[in-house]
């Protein structure tokens, strides 16, 4: 046993050396560059090509040509030489996140486009992701994980621990996020790209500031968000970015608020609904206020403020919901559903005359209402 233990320690030491040697120095990828098929990088690409195929048919990709063209245009403005290597996918997901795969698949969640208040803010996200691609962060991360888990196995084994299946699984989780140093590196490169392509780099810090406000208002601020757990402290990041942005003269740079508002307008309702489905009312309210302040169409936003109060249903939420719906109907671009929700709340409050009027307005405005039979039934019940 003693000799076996000695052998194992020896083997451990040998392997440890071998695994350390692997990480190597990783250069940035060149435009148009593809990994050679024998490389570990090619394996990662292959894996992600598979993921990409699944993604294309997942039913979650937003295929609207105008929206896709808009995102691509910003990406290509940020960097013309790499833009042909990157395929952007807009994916329906309410959370604030984007991802970059080693094979050039860039995923932008709708939660990001909803929250970006202008072209420059969206550009800051896209530039950051593109920087992960250029600096080959996936490959770096994979090699780091492979060698550290190898070393960990040795440590565990050599010290008499059990090489558990769980150690491997724990490692997978961390593979999937870049290190904080990589995030900083991507922030810096992303900001440089913004500056060089004419976007106002000061917007980069602002998007973080907006997120911090949201998080602070969350119903569950302590909940580990995918986003905040893997990124440099948001506050530190926002401050660093703000400082970096001020290092140059930013006059004449683009913010692009009107265009962003116009391009995203047709989708805002769906994306807000996705967000509301998360049932984090505190965060949702802050997000609504931010969008209202940013000058997005307010009828829809007021409708969703009403929805938020209706669903939360605490204290004076019922009256606040009614007030928000009423305000929405006065704004000119409230969805017809505002009247249905108003009807439901008035009915619950015992105000059947107001409820009837609201339901009738809903049915008149929504001739092909899917739930017409039910609403007509409500009207009968109230008689």
């Amino acid at each position: 046993m003693t000799s076996a233990r000695a052998t194992s320690l020896l083997a451990a030491a040998a392997l440890f050396v071998a695994s350390c040697a692997q990480t190597g120095n990783i250069q940035k990828i060149e435009p148009g560059e593809r990994p050679t098929i024998e490389s570990d990088e090619a394996g990662l690409w292959m894996q992600m090509d598979r993921v990409e195929e699944d993604l294309q048919t997942s039913g979650k990709v937003v295929t609207d040509p105008d929206l896709n063209a808009y995102v691509r245009e910003i990406l290509c403005q940020l960097d013309t030489s790499y833009c042909a290597d990157v395929r952007t996918y807009i994916v329906r997901n309410a959370d604030f996140n984007a991802s970059m795969a080693p094979n050039g698949v860039m995923i932008v969640w709708t939660g990001i486009i909803l929250r970006a208040q202008n072209e420059a803010q969206l550009a800051s996200v896209l530039g950051h992701e593109l920087a992960h691609y250029i600096d080959r962060h996936s490959l770096k991360r994979w090699r780091e994980i492979r060698s550290t888990t190898d070393a960990a196995v040795f440590f565990t084994f050599a010290t008499g621990g059990i090489v558990g299946i769980l150690a491997g699984f724990a490692a997978y989780d961390s593979i999937m996020s870049f290190s904080r140093d990589m995030e900083r590196e991507a922030d810096t490169r992303g900001l440089t790209m913004m500056r060089e392509s004419g976007f106002d780099p000061r917007e980069s810090a602002k998007i973080w500031q907006q997120l911090i406000e949201e998080r602070d208002a969350s119903d569950e601020p302590e909940k580990k968000s995918a986003f905040f757990s893997t990124h440099p402290a948001a506050k530190e990041r926002s401050e660093t970015l703000a400082k970096l942005a001020e290092e140059t003269d930013n006059t004449g740079t683009t913010i692009g608020r009107e265009r962003h508002a116009a391009v995203t307008a047709p989708f805002r309702r769906d994306w807000l609904l996705d967000e509301l489905r998360q049932r984090d009312y505190g965060r949702f309210e802050v997000l609504l206020n931010q969008l209202i302040e940013a000058g997005m169409e307010d009828g829809e936003l007021l409708f969703y403020r009403g929805e938020m109060h209706r669903l939360r249903g605490e204290d004076d939420d019922a009256e606040k919901a009614i007030a928000a719906y009423t305000a929405a109907t006065g704004s000119g671009n409230a969805p017809a559903e505002t009247y249905r929700s108003l009807g439901l709340m008035q009915w619950s409050a015992g105000r059947t005359t107001e409820a009837r009027a609201a339901f009738e307005t809903y049915l008149a405005a929504q001739q092909d209402a899917e739930d017409r039979a039910m609403i007509e039934h409500y009207l009968q019940q109230m008689q």
């Binding site: 292959m46 699944d54 996140n97 991802s99 999937m176």
Partner: protein, 245 residues
């Protein structure tokens, strides 16, 4: 803005319509016999003398097993492995008097419909693995029965290829890295069994006249190497074991 591919490939939750991950189920079957197949419990249609078999894109992936037990996919091995398996399929099916046609991803009359068909097949495949191979999940309604179908829509695949059957192949092969081999050796000295590389896979045969999955096989093996043509042929032969053609 992390690389959160995983969350999209495998959303964090299970919709109630979600098919269980094939890889997960196949891996759980490790302790079972090498192959175990099921033949339809429905009446088998008359087999054509020279059946045309549509081979769906062979889903093959080869990886290296790192010291810690992570799988590192290897593109070169995968390319070799896939072409070895494809060659073996051609020759083995020819030996059964079958004519082989290959699925064209870019063809297809209605690609959205075909995509749904492939997704349904993968959901049914996971379902079979779960409920037929894992005793804890056995369905009383499937006791002594094997009668899953892709429905009439599957017959749409017949037309463009004139095929009688569609054959689906899924194979995963992994090989221990040098570090893993050393660990296995040391583990053996210490009396601890450590998992090396292995081969897992399944195959299914769909009758394109009825949409029925008439045969299904699952393979698990600690040996074999799809990078070697002869061994790939052996593995494919095992996988097609008892194929009713």
């Amino acid at each position: 803005m992390t690389k959160r591919m995983r969350r999209i490939a495998r959303p964090e939750n299970r919709t109630w319509g979600r098919a269980l991950a094939v890889t997960a189920i196949v891996l759980l079957l490790g302790a079972c016999a090498q192959t175990q197949s099921f033949l339809t419990s429905e009446n088998l249609a008359q087999k054509p003398a020279n059946p045309r078999v549509l081979i769906m894109p062979t889903d093959v992936e080869l990886s290296e097993l790192t010291t810690a037990g992570l799988l590192e996919p290897n593109a070169a091995w995968t390319a070799t492995g896939r072409s070895n398996v494809d060659a073996a399929l051609d020759s083995l099916l020819a030996g059964r008097n079958a004519t082989v046609v290959r699925y064209d991803k870019n063809g297809g009359a209605g690609s959205a419909a075909e995509t749904q068909l492939l997704k349904l097949h993968s959901a049914v495949g996971s379902t079979i693995l779960l409920h037929k191979y894992l005793p804890g999940f056995a369905l009383p309604t499937k006791k002594d029965k094997f009668n899953w179908s892709l429905g009439q829509e599957a017959t749409a695949l017949r037309g463009p290829y004139g095929a009688d059957y569609a054959l689906f192949i899924y194979l995963r092969d992994s090989f221990a890295s040098d570090g893993r081999k050393a660990l296995i050796f040391v583990g053996a000295l210490l009396g601890a069994g450590i998992q090396g590389g292995r081969q897992v896979g399944f195959a299914s045969l769909v009758d394109l006249r009825s949409g029925e999955i008439i045969w299904f096989n699952r393979l698990v093996s600690q040996a074999g190497d799809l990078r070697e043509p002869e061994l790939a042929r052996g593995a494919t032969e095992n996988l097609l074991d008892e194929l009713p053609l």
